[in-house]
């Protein structure tokens, strides 16, 4: 049973892959019905699926594919010309085949899922009505019937037997046997039909293989082989003859060939490509099969997660190296450490890229279904549309390939339905009757760009605005202010459709809304360009991968946030007076654009501890079609981050897409650019509140000043306290660095200065100072070292870690008092 399951699985995977190719080939076939190569390929797909499904006992599927195969076989032999009507039926049966296969995948059986009877009868009708010659064929004598058959299809892999290896001969025998079986079956069917029609059919000399004994089969093979050898010989002779006589008179037995290939003039060119082309193709296929393995996607996902952890580790290592470098500059081991760190980070990056690549799929996987879709649409809408695909080999992460399908379907439908005009209208406008929709994919940096270009009627911004106002999507005032580009973006608003009539295809105003939300989900950006009468171009810009992304780290007060770099358009430094206000909203005039501005602190309710300096930074983010300026206090830098979920408890927090662990082990939140855009609409500017906060902290009397004394010795603390008493300031004491840091971080008192001893248990003065300086809000706080260490190097170290002053013990009371007063700007009378 297990073995069967395995075979079944392989069969399904293979079948679906072949079907994908089949659809495209069929569409291509419609435009060039004489392409025998194509026909053969299509025939082989149907044939293979039929073979495997009969082996696996899928009777319904076998029944269907068998009839398909017959029709295709006929077309291949040139007995049938593929008309659009026939194509419809063939495509229909392909669809049924897909449905059946899907049913098999789900239930393991093909029974009762799809009713194939109507399709089969239509296929039969084609078979019957398409060419009456079919009925006559079985009545012929065995020899002539066998002879024209192989020659009617010179493109088939007709290899010279004498040149074949044993395996090849084996395969050839098998092929021939199959052919025979098919012929027999066909003949039987034809016979049945003929009998029904009341005709008596002469018993043909061909024996039914299924009824043969082993010896008979052997004999039959022998016979067939001989026949083949004979033919080959004849053909070789013919070839020679043809070569000798440049202007060839066609040998008698070659006659059927031109029937299927009207273009062929001499037997030589007809036979040669047939012999040469299939061989290398077969070889190529063989080698690729050996070099690929199928891997469960989950394993790749696990691998990706592990790499994610490794990237975090690498970031951490880099950070530690930076710290160590500062502290032990010039030491020997630093160089070694540097080498290790850089080689690890290099390997990690390569590893990450390698794993990312294994997850990549060509976008052709998605594109493949569109030729069929466009063809169906064109027929349904009575338009002539050609779909031109390029860049289908461009690769994308698997998860994105899966997500991108739906939006593309909607966009292409839209282009066909609304964009491309009916032929009459096109001709009237001086365009060719056949419209073109181009689907292009290409890489641009860390992004992939997908362009959908149509040469249809284009969009009229004024009409769009009018419609939007009519439908209440926007107000008239908004419409007046709208640029053309913004007007095009209206098509993404929910409930907006400009189709004059709602068709089966589009016009229900749902699709484009889906496009926008799906593209946003992928952190993608949409751009539209359109010119009335000329056509429309839709550009989707999508990041290559989702799990590990480049981000811009920004800080707001004490908090850090990561903004996906894919959404960052640019950053600018501004002064506060560049921020203008329009209707209570902050805006920034940047070149010829007016951008809405919002402070990240307002969006995330960040407590404002210190005020904005002379400069602020604006990160301009763009998503899908909108733009927003985000004010932050500073830009920290670019970092590669691994997206982690916030878990069940905190999921779906507005404006937060996830979290990442930074090099120092801290968690940094990743902003959800899409949500920020929405949130920004309801946020009032908080710029004004800042002044009020400043007033509150203004000092009026000496006791408003807070000084922190950090020393482990009680005596020293008392001396300091006594020295400062005359100033009248408020004093808080801490016995070591850890305690001091906690008091500072607690934030209930804001200290104006700190007196720090150097030698303390748990955390010394140097460490404390460097810890304090890590906080933006303490960057300006005076730190006064009070110590008995008088060494020059000690003083130097003090300055390095951020001490403002360095007082050596013993000191006079006045000296200490003056230093403190000077540092907190307190006037002493």
């Amino acid at each position: 049973m297990d073995e069967f399951d395995e075979i079944l699985e392989d069969f399904l995977v293979e079948a679906f892959e072949m079907l994908e190719q089949l659809d495209n080939d069929l569409i291509e076939l419609e435009s060039s019905p004489d392409d025998l190569d194509l026909l053969n390929r299509i025939f082989r797909v149907a044939h293979t699926i039929k073979g495997s499904s009969s082996f696996l006992n899928f009777d319904v599927l076998t029944h269907l594919t068998h009839h398909m195969e017959d029709v295709l076989n006929k077309a291949r032999k040139g007995e049938l010309t593929i008309t659009p009507e026939i194509m419809d039926v063939v495509l229909e049966s392909t669809d049924k085949m897909k449905a059946l296969l899907e049913h098999i995948r789900e239930t393991g059986s093909d029974q009762g899922a799809v009713d194939v009877a109507p399709t089969v009868s239509r296929l039969e009708a084609i078979l019957g009505g398409g060419s009456p010659a079919e009925a006559a064929a079985p009545a012929q004598e065995p020899a002539p019937s066998a002879q024209p058959e192989p020659e009617a299809e010179p493109e088939e892999e007709e290899k010279d037997l004498s040149e074949m290896s044993e395996e090849e001969i084996e395969a050839e025998i098998e092929r021939l046997l199959k052919q025979r079986q098919e012929e027999d079956r066909k003949r039987r069917e034809a016979k049945k039909k003929a009998q029904e029609a009341g005709e008596t059919v002469e018993e043909s000399g061909e024996k039914d293989i299924s009824e043969m004994s082993e010896e008979e089969v052997e004999a039959e093979i022998e016979r067939l082989l001989k026949e083949r050898q004979e033919e080959d010989r004849k053909r070789r002779e013919a070839k020679k003859k043809a070569q000798q006589q440049a202007a060839a008179t066609q040998p008698a037995e070659q006659k059927p060939a031109p029937a299927s290939q009207p273009a062929a003039s001499t037997p030589k060119p007809a036979a040669q490509p047939a012999r040469n082309t299939p061989k290398p193709a077969a070889k190529e296929r063989k080698s690729t099969v050996e070099q690929t393995i199928r891997v469960d996607v989950k394993r790749l996902d696990d691998l990706m997660n592990l790499i994610g952890e490794l990237v975090l580790g690498k970031n951490r290592l880099l950070k530690i190296y930076d710290d160590v470098e500062e502290r032990y500059e010039g030491e020997q081991f630093l160089e070694e450490l540097n080498q290790v760190v850089s080689s690890i980070s290099l390997v990690t990056t390569d590893l990450q890229i390698a794993v990312m690549k294994t997850r990549m799929l060509p976008i052709g996987k998605v594109f493949n279904k569109f030729p069929r879709m466009v063809r169906d649409l064109a027929r349904e809408l009575h338009k002539e549309i050609e779909l031109v695909i390029s860049g289908e080999e461009t690769e994308l992460d698997k998860s994105i390939v899966e997500e991108i399908g739906d939006p593309l379907v909607h966009i292409i439908r839209n282009s066909c339905d609304h964009g491309i005009e009916p032929p009459e209208e096109r001709v009237a406008a001086g365009k060719p009757p056949k419209g073109t929709v181009q689907l292009k994919a290409y890489n641009e940096g860390n992004h992939i760009i997908i362009e959908i270009v149509d040469d249809g009627r284009g969009m009229d911004p004024d009409v769009l605005k009018m419609k939007a106002v009519e439908k209440g999507v926007i107000s008239e005032k908004e419409a007046d202010q709208m640029s053309d580009k913004e007007a095009f973006m209206l098509i993404f608003k929910p409930g907006f459709s400009t189709a004059a009539k709602v068709t089966n295809v589009s016009g229900r105003g749902v699709g484009m809304d889906v496009v926008k939300s799906n593209i946003e989900k992928l952190n993608g950006i949409i751009e539209i360009e359109s010119e009335k009468g000329k056509g429309t171009t839709l550009k989707l810009k999508i990041p290559l991968t989702l799990a590990i992304i480049q981000s811009l780290l920004v800080s707001v007060q004490e908090e850090y946030y990561a903004v996906p770099l894919a959404s960052v358009l640019e950053t600018v430094r501004i002064t506060p007076d560049e921020i203008q206000s329009v209707e209570g909203r902050s805006v920034l005039r940047l070149r010829d654009e007016v951008l809405p501005l919002v402070h990240l602190a307002d969006l995330f309710d960040v407590e404002r501890v210190f005020s904005m300096g002379e400069h602020a930074y604006v990160v301009i983010i763009g998503l899908a079609e909108s733009k927003l300026g985000l004010i932050v206090d500073s830009l920290v830098g670019q970092e590669e981050i691994v997206i982690k979920s916030l878990g069940e408890y905190l999921k779906g927090i507005e404006g937060i897409a996830g979290a990442t662990i930074r090099g120092d082990g801290r968690v940094t939140l990743i902003v959800d650019v899409g949500a920020l855009m929405d949130m920004a609409k309801s946020v009032k500017s908080g710029m004004q509140n800042l002044d009020a906060a400043d007033v509150k902290t203004e000092k009026t009397k000496p006791s408003d000043y807070n000084i922190l004394i950090v020393d482990d010795s009680k005596t020293d603390r008392t001396i300091m306290r006594k020295s400062l008493e005359p100033l009248g300031v408020t004093i808080t004491e801490a016995t070591n660095g850890v305690e001091a840091l906690n008091i500072l971080k607690d934030g209930s008192t804001i200290f104006d200065a700190a007196l720090v001893d150097i030698e303390m248990p748990r955390m010394d003065g140097y460490t404390l100072a460097s810890e304090i300086r890590k906080f933006n809000k303490f960057k300006q706080m005076p730190l006064i070292a009070v110590t008995s260490r008088t060494n020059r190097s000690d003083r130097l170290r003090g300055v390095e870690v951020g001490m403002t002053e360095y007082i050596t013990k013993p000191y006079t009371q006045e000296y200490l008092m003056n230093v403190v007063a000077r540092n907190i700007n307190l006037n002493v009378e």
């Binding site: 979920s645 069940e648 404006g655 082990g665 968690v667």
Partner: protein, 165 residues
Amino acid sequence: MSTQLEQVLKKQQEQQKTPLENEIEEVIQLVGFMVGDEEFAVPILDIQEIIKPIEYTRVPKTPDYVLGVFNLRGSVLPLIDLRMKFGLSKSKENEDTRYMVIKYNDDIAGFVIDRLTQAMRIPERSIDPAPETIHDEQNLIYGVGKQEDKLVSILNVEALLKRDF
């Protein structure tokens, strides 16, 4: 004779064993801790680990008692202040403060507690349902465990880990 004796002995053993087994099954092992002035307890099996306070990152747009998220060996976990969850003032971190990482099914979070007290075993029968007078909309209290000299509120872990905003 000897078989009779054996049977009697066996019977005696069985009688002794059964009540003992029952007793073991009924006992719940709990970890006690202080939040404010009150002692609470959580079944020991629901606790993944207890760690000393580490740095956490505030998450905006959450209630006060959600302090933020912290990094526990590579996983990002939410951190909840139990004092604030119980309507007390924000806890001041000191050297007794601990983060208790509680896991129930797939839900996991860290909780800030003021101080650990003791591990305890309380027989099921000495756990009473929470008094009805306690105003407890969220059903946070599973029951009240009686010890020799005091009462312990046993927390309902499932409710504790349920997001209520």
